[in-house]
Amino acid sequence: MIGLDGKQAPQCIVCQQEKADGITVCGQFICTDCERAIVSTDVSDVRYKHYVDCMKRIWWRVCP
């Protein structure tokens, strides 16, 4: 997927899809949809553990 700036859209570390909007932390991209899902998911929800696992990727890379 090509963004408005002509660059390849980054791949979300949670849903693995290429999206234009989201946050980039230490080079790891989280799309807006997933970010909203992460912050609104209760800690006791089964999806929470999945999000926690995905977030580990942020810490597996040295910040640029």
């Binding site: 946050i23 932390v25 230490c26 006791s44 597996w60």
Partner: protein
């Protein structure tokens, strides 16, 4: 096979980078008060990069707070990820008019996020039912926690030992002088199952509590010596 080694090398590289990251504190330095205020203003105006910067430059806080929960039994990388979620929530909901610094507000959010997670996992651990299936036996029948309780081999051995010791005590009791036998029977509820205090026994027998204590000690010493030697009482 080569693919496996490549995959393994990649995983090890990732893990070592993570460990080194935490160990050497290779985090972006915290922003100055002016830089932070500028980023917050930009973020509130819709600047995504400003939000990214605020999150990245507060990751040090996540590592610091996660370390405080090291003894919780959770994996450190899980705690750091949970803390990161808390940090994202903090940055999303922070506004300059909150009256506190972003770091103070974020620290509270990170702390709360980790605490909520730990409480949630503890609640789940406590909620195990006695009738939850925990596996199958050799015949393929489902087994529950209740099936296993009370059938621990150690429990069985303990029961057998206790029963054997009781038998030995009953054999030796009649050999004790009557007064000593009466004190032990009343003290440990041997005949009626009702244990009495030395004071209660003293009142029943019309003697002092200290005398009951001396009789009890003497009787127990005799029993102990005889049970150890396996001989009759003298």
């Amino acid at each position: 096979m080569t693919g496996l080694f490549t995959l393994l090398a990649l995983v090890l590289k990732d893990v070592s980078v993570f460990v080194s990251y935490v160990k050497h504190h290779a985090f972006p330095q915290p922003l100055s008060a002016e830089e932070e205020a500028e980023c917050i203003r930009k973020m509130q105006a819709g600047d995504q990069n400003a939000r990214n910067t605020l999150i990245e430059h507060n990751l040090r806080l996540v590592a610091h707070l996660a370390k405080k929960f090291e003894s919780s039994g959770e994996e450190m990388d899980d705690l750091i990820s949970i803390g990161t979620i808390g940090l994202i929530k903090a940055v999303e909901s922070y506004t300059l008019d909150r009256g506190t610094k972003l770091a103070t507000f974020a620290a509270r959010c990170i702390h709360n996020e980790i605490l909520m997670y730990l409480r949630s996992t503890k609640r789940h651990r406590r909620d195990a039912s006695l009738h939850d299936p925990i596996g199958v036996d050799k015949d393929g029948n489902e087994m529950t926690l209740a099936d296993l309780l009370g059938s621990d081999p150690d429990d069985v051995i303990h029961e057998v030992d206790l029963s054997w010791e009781k038998q030995k005590v009953f054999e030796h009791l009649p050999l004790l002088p009557e007064r000593e036998r009466e004190v032990l029977c009343k003290r440990f509820g041997i005949l009626d199952g009702e244990e009495r205090t030395q004071r209660e026994i003293a009142a029943e027998m019309g003697i002092s509590r200290s005398y009951v204590s001396r009789i009890e000690r003497k009787a127990l010493n005799k029993l102990y010596a005889q049970l150890r030697s396996g001989k009759g009482l003298s």
